[in-house]
Symmetry: C2
Subunit: 326 residues, 2 copies
């Protein structure tokens, strides 16, 4: 692999001049530039970014921490980030945290050692103090970390309200909720939105809410319990799409027809919701857009710009499909 010295020798100039041509800064005579360009071409020279990183203390690399790329919500998020960053000359290191603070710390350590220029983090557990210790630009995606770390997310409470209201509108009279895990802010907010709508209904009591773990299997179980305890439930708002799928399964196994006997709506708007039978109504998040803008903000931060807008809240859209058509 050719080095800058090789190029300098070939073009009969100094390494400084080659560097100037490569980076297009400082004065370079037109003829000299040509010579260097020829040399670069002939030797197929590609500057060594490791050496550059060492000097510049930045690596043109960013890290993205997500809980689990295998969870259908995250690939699109990661894609939005990666697409923008590669175009801006950054590469993306993927980190699966499994929501484990220990792993998050480990990844952050590795990033710091590699002079990573910044990080995009999806985490419920991470603390602002931890991040401060690393002294690198960070943006929070999907979930907020602290009010002075730029955040890109949706209004979950509002989404929860819209979902619950939609079920009322299509004629549901008793609406259950499958809540996401405790202590997870997004899950809590979706639940609060649901509460905003149903709390003062005379039929409502806490038995209408069961807790799932954002995954399908467990959702099947808790939905079954919910439906068996109260035969009058004719609408379910699931805290995310995966659990809505579980609810669908549960209804099926209890011989309830969706949407005739019971309407179901999910949350997130992952592709999966179009593939089920019946197709799932859901509150769709602008995942790609959101993650792209998070990436843009991170790059701005890295380039030293001030990002004054800390809270970037994106709109959700209600997608009405068969599962709530009554």
């Amino acid at each position: 692999m050719a080095t800058i010295k090789d190029v300098a020798q070939y073009a009969k100039v100094s390494v400084a001049t080659v560097s100037r041509v490569i980076n297009q800064n400082g004065y370079v005579n037109e003829d000299t530039r040509k010579k260097v360009e020829v040399a670069v071409e002939s030797l197929n020279y590609k500057p060594n970014s490791v050496a550059r990183s060492l000097f510049k203390k930045q690596s043109k690399t960013i890290g993205i921490i997500v809980p689990d790329i295998t969870n259908p919500y995250f690939p699109e998020l990661v894609r939005g980030v990666e697409d923008y960053l590669i175009q801006k000359g950054f590469t993306t290191i993927l980190c699966n945290s499994d929501e484990d603070p220990e792993k998050e710390r480990l990844y952050l350590d590795v990033m710091k050692q590699k002079y990573v220029d910044g990080a995009i983090i999806v985490s419920n557990t991470i603390e602002r103090e931890l991040i401060d210790g690393y002294d690198m630009p960070v943006v929070a995606l999907d979930r907020s970390i602290h009010h002075d770390i730029p955040t890109f997310a949706i209004d979950n409470r509002d989404g929860g309200r819209i979902a619950a209201e939609h079920l009322l509108e299509v004629g549901c009279t008793r609406i259950g909720h499958i809540k996401g895990p405790d202590k997870v802010e997004n899950a809590d907010n979706r639940y609060l939105g649901y509460l905003d709508v149903v709390m003062h209904k005379d039929w409502f009591h806490s038995g209408y809410v069961v807790e799932g773990n954002f995954d399908q299997k467990q959702a099947v179980e808790v939905t079954k319990e919910l439906l068996q305890n109260d035969r009058e439930i004719d609408g379910i708002f699931a805290g995310n799409d995966t659990m809505a799928l579980g609810a669908l399964k549960a209804a099926e196994s209890l011989n309830l027809n969706v949407p005739e006997d019971i309407a179901i709506i999910g949350f997130d708007g992952i592709d999966l919701t179009e593939m089920t039978k019946p197709e799932l109504s859901t509150l769709s998040q602008p995942i790609y857009q959101m993650s792209r803008e998070a990436a843009e903000a991170l790059v701005a931060l890295i380039e030293g710009e001030l990002v004054q807008e800390k809270e970037n809240i994106f709109p959700t859209t209600l997608i009405k499909r068969q599962s709530t058509k009554r």
Copy 2:
């Protein structure tokens, strides 16, 4: 950020000694080691991997090129790789190629400039000559590139055979195939496996095969055509799970019951297949295992071991679910 010099000063030794302690090589007196360890601890020193990379010409980083992380087959593949690598001290750069040779080249260029230690590649288009030019260890995953690049994949033809035979076994008499895109080796091989089974049936002719693009939407269309042209078809083998989902949709829209009127089987075994109604039979690949072993082989290669086994073919398992239960 503390450097090795800071540590050396703090511990009143030379940088060489600190380096020896950090890397556990060379002779170091027990007391000296202690002093250095205290210094490392006190200053919270983390060696700078960029500087280390520059000297060692390796970065403890590998790249993984996949067509599109958004396609449900790939996240698990990536996860298998990442899980193993982080544990071995490597970080993983994610690259979405969209099967575009231009992007593949771009990513490979970036990898080379960053002294990436090796790459795991999922690609139909990449040429062995291109890879040779980069002079780094490479393993092929899911699809072979060249017979002397270690490959981790399944026997697609055999899988195609098993799928077609399963449809026969459950009583199908006319079996259609939704083939993956042309020129894609895996798609071709699955098709060949299907042919092995049905070619000599008296009912068979080329009209039983239609071509999809491995995605759902198009599969809906071509399946409709297929089923409308030949009302006798009572079994469909789709070239992958996503297309099987499309077939399911198509059957539904033609008011055909699955599996009573028509049995459907997919290929790959992605999680999605458990979530549909009816649940999809499929040929399951050991995705996680396969990708993990690919990562192991890459690390072996990087560490200079000889990997003599070039063709690593994993078994597929037939998963019988409702969609073929007759």
